[in-house]
Amino acid sequence: MSAHHKKVSDIEDKQIQIDKASLWAKLPIIGAVLAVAGFALGYFSPSPGGVFAEDAHLWHAKQWTAYLNGFMFALSLGFGGMIFVIIQHLVRANWSIVVRRLAENAMFTLPFVALGGLPLLMGDTGKNVFEWMHVEEMLHDPMLQAKAAYLNTDAFAARFALYLFLWGVVCLLFWKWSRAQDNAKTTEEADALSYKQRFLAPIGLVVFALSMTFGAFDFMMSLDPHWFSTIFGVYYFAGIALTFHAFLVIVCFFLQRGGMLQGVVTPEHYHDLGKFMFGFTVFWTYIGFSQYFLIWYANIPEETDWFQYRAHGQWLSLSMLVIFGRFVLPFFLLLRRGWKRNPNYLVWMAFFVVGMQFIDMFWLIQPPFAHHAASAAHKAGAVEVAEYFHNSITLTGADFGYFIGFVGLFLALFGWSLTTSKLVAIKDPRLEESLNHENF
């Protein structure tokens, strides 16, 4: 009943093509430059001295922890694209069709960014972060012995190869079919490609759920090999889903600032993305608290340890930042309808949410390093060093470098995919419904 019903044929070409004069057209180059500069900064950044001065191993451990931190952050954006696309096809969603191509571009990055996990399998680099890769120590630890069948380098490599294969197949098939649809000559051809994607969606969902969960176990949970939490994969997913909707808001906002997607993406779509940001904020809290609550209640040392070393000095401040930055603030600041419908406001919240994802990854990945460093120093009798790692967060050039590097890598891949196709799946049979989507 709306006064003005939009038609697909009304969309001008310049709305759905990257403006060659805009900064967006240079995104692949900008991303590549950031990636090279970031990785160089991360890799070559010298030991900051101090507690690291006497121990080269310790500095390498810190560097590779920073590497893993950046890796898991960039991976979460690719995962976000993957699950977003899968869910939209699975439920045959109308509203999201105008933004789905942007998600497909993010999904495209996943198998390539995932290659960033390879260095951890080469030679002894993995030993810098994964305690369970030290076979001699495993032998003296009955708890780790019991997990040796899962936590060993060969099984890790085999699983990683499987993840790469599955992510590659699922992500690139969706990506390829959707792009092929743009060139469909007939409506039958376009329909057939939509059906194909819809057929792949439930398979992709199972692949995503299992590979993402076990990927989170392998790359993050195993950093503290004594600790285990069956909800850990869901925790990572909650952050992924939350972050990705925020990421879409940022991309849509700046594409529109550059004069693209005008009249295609409307406040109605921002509203829905905002609702998902709010919803997944609550979901993240629910999952994060559930994980904490059961461990707190049962009070078994092997489980509480994981939270113990996040509850001292600066680590406690970081934990508080995660609670307030991931739940309290976004919960209240995304509550009102009008705020979610205002892109100028929502984009700030989106930046905040994406930034918090990095901090959340930092909170998951960095404390085990500090904990191991503190334990080792304690054993060696270096009380001051132990105290330092017990209480202090170490931010080094490696942290910034690898963060920038992985963000750059993601942007380069995302930008390449973005600039080489249309911004909207223009031949999707139900695009018109998405154009005219309204929240009632």
Binding site: M1, S2, F289, Y292, F293, W296, Y297, N299, L335, R336, R337, E438, F440
Partner: protein, 188 residues
């Protein structure tokens, strides 16, 4: 023969509810609503057999205050849930369980959360009923035979006599100028 005369006399003194207009399509009532809205009427409503999208905009209805009621109820619920547990576990019946402190926020989160949800659900349901003035045991429109089709295939607009701009002749004329298939005055 005195009785019928009395009835008609009573009928003429009868308080009026307002004017009812009937439409045979969603498109017709949509345009009519815009016209009534633009004429500046405040106390009027539309009745349709199914939700007509955007009719609220055509009628110029302002956003509901319901979200604020729900928010206030939710916060009250969360606060009372926390207070209840604090009072019962530290004052009314202090009992050390599993070596935990008498009051620790962790143990109290689920009930606090649930009561927050419960109260906001109450706020939403009863707030909605209250704002809609429901339940209403009597409504003058149900005396009109044609109004029964509001739940079947007809669309209605009723402008109430209590509206400050209400004037029987002008209001009736306004509705007759729309695509109404019938316009009639309704007794209260």
């Amino acid at each position: 023969m005195a009785e019928p005369k009395q009835v008609s006399k009573q009928a003429s003194k009868q308080k009026k509810f307002g004017v009812l207009a009937e439409y045979d399509s969603a498109a017709a009532i949509f345009k009519a609503c815009e016209k009534v809205r633009d004429a500046g009427y405040k106390r009027w409503d539309s009745y349709t057999p199914f939700p007509v999208h955007n009719l609220d905009k055509a009628m110029g209805i302002k956003p509901s205050v319901l979200p604020w009621i729900v928010f206030a109820c939710g916060m009250t619920g969360a606060a009372s849930g926390l207070l209840l547990q604090w009072w019962s576990s530290t004052i009314a019946y202090p009992l050390v369980i599993a070596g935990k402190p008498l009051f620790s926020f962790q143990a109290n989160v689920p009930v606090t959360f649930e009561l927050g949800i419960l109260f906001s659900a109450f706020g939403a349901v009863f707030g909605m009923l209250g704002l809609n003035k429901l339940p209403q045991l009597y409504h003058p429109l149900f005396n009109i035979a044609r109004f029964a089709r509001a739940t079947d295939d007809r669309f209605f607009i009723a402008i109430e006599a209590s509206d400050p701009k209400y004037d029987l002749e002008k209001t009736r004329k306004l509705l007759e100028e729309t695509a109404a298939v019938a316009v009639e005055e309704v007794d209260d």
